[in-house]
Amino acid sequence: MRSGDVAKVRLDEARPAAGVDGVTAGTAAHPSTPAKPAAAYPVKQPFTWWTRRRGYLLYMLREFTAVGIAAWMILFLVEIARARQGASGYQPLGGPLFIAVGVVCLALALWHSYTFLSLAGVIMRIPLGDRTVSPRLIVGVMYGGLVAVTAVIAGLLIWGGA
């Protein structure tokens, strides 16, 4: 083989399943790979792992915001179903409890949006010639879109029925 030549290799090799303890996942061991020590102690992850570090806790909070958003969507669907009775028979939800639930769900939705949009610059890699679009620009466009869509919806709610 000449200098710089690279052998033709493919990625279609199957990877065997993990062992019982999950530590032996991977391709068949190379002959030079030393055997797995028989007495290795398998340390388990405690149920409270997410309390151990701030990053884990913030992750769990981020994920749980989806529960509040889902709850609000279910409430919204129920309201649509109730509205089918017609304007005369429809009594919109109200009262302090409904307002409190709405405020909590709004806070969860805003936090979810903030975490999602802030990470957009990391997630999205948009090629532009031989470079990529700046993550800061991507995040800016995302937030701009959020403000624009919110303004349109607010406008429809405030003036759409007039």
């Binding site: 000449r2 200098s3 710089g4 030549d5 690279v6 033709k8 290799v9 493919r10 990625l11 279609d12 090799e13 990877r15 399943a17 993990a18 303890d21 999950g22 530590v23 032996t24 996942a25 991977g26 391709t27 061991a29 190379h30 790979t33 030393p34 797995k36 020590p37 007495a39 290795a40 102690y41 398998p42 340390v43 388990k44 992850q45 792992w49 997410w50 151990r52 570090r53 990053g55 884990y56 992750y59 994920e63 990470l119 990391v122 997630i123 999205m124 890699r125 090629p127 031989d130 470079r131 990529t132």
Partner: protein, 242 residues
């Protein structure tokens, strides 16, 4: 400034112990000492049976990964002065079986690393003898992901690994991404298919701690999420998101 600091080191002798347990050592406090220096002092002056991996002492070899006060760190970059007044709890990296003391079994990681084929793949023979030139812009595409030293701290920080042991994991996917973005590599779509299969990118729930603990700023979470984004575009767009 204290004269000594307490080091609580996890000990495990598979021939004698049923489970790992902590053992405390008083070590001299030095302003410029790191945890690895303290362990070396213990091994040289107090207890020669303490086992741990190390080599370069300068954050390059990636051998001395361990949990210091619960956080995955390189022993050679964890300064004692950052943990005053102590004690400093030194444990083996999480999410790996413990072989002895601070030494963990890394064979699962080595297998995962081989699986993503972290080398340049070309279907044809080389474009010619000699150099495969790249522009600075082409190098910038993958430079960050090429900084990985295989220290496995990201595996120790990842809470998905113990739940999904077959998950290929942060470093291996970052390396796959590094070659996928390399203009000399010709297996981009094939790598993408591999990474979008089982046990790969979709096992990641984007906790992000892999990137937080990376001593080289590789940002494996970014590599994984970018691959998710591109594979999704590949399904939606006729030109495959590229």
């Amino acid at each position: 400034m204290p004269e000594t600091i307490t080091l609580s080191v996890t000990r495990f002798d598979p021939d004698r112990d049923s489970a790992p347990h902590p053992q405390s050592y008083e070590v001299p406090y030095q302003e410029d000492w790191v945890v690895l220096d303290a362990l070396n002092w213990v091994k040289a002056h107090v207890d020669g049976s303490v086992n741990y991996r190390w080599s370069c002492r300068m954050g390059i070899c990636g051998s001395c990964g361990m949990n210091v006060n619960g956080r995955p760190k390189l022993g050679c970059s964890a300064f004692l002065r950052d943990y005053l007044p102590g004690p400093i709890v030194v444990e083996p990296m999480a999410n790996f079986p413990v072989v002895r003391d601070l030494v963990v079994d890394i064979s699962s990681f080595m297998d995962k690393l081989k699986w993503v084929k972290p080398w340049i793949i070309r279907e044809e023979t080389a474009v010619g003898p000699g150099e495969h030139r790249q522009t600075p812009a082409q190098i910038d595409q993958y430079r960050q992901f090429s900084m990985c030293i295989n220290c496995m701290l990201c595996y120790s920080a990842c809470p998905v690994i113990p739940i999904e042991p077959e998950f290929v994991g942060p470093a291996a996917i970052a390396l796959a991404r590094r070659y996928e973005l390399d203009s000399r590599d010709r297996a981009g779509q094939e790598r993408l298919r591999t990474l979008t299969g089982s046990d790969a990118i979709w096992d990641c729930s984007f906790v992000g701690e892999c990137s937080a603990v990376c001593p080289k700023g590789v940002d494996p979470a970014k590599a994984i999420q970018q691959t998710k984004f591109e594979s999704t575009l590949g399904m939606l767009l006729p030109w495959g998101g590229r």
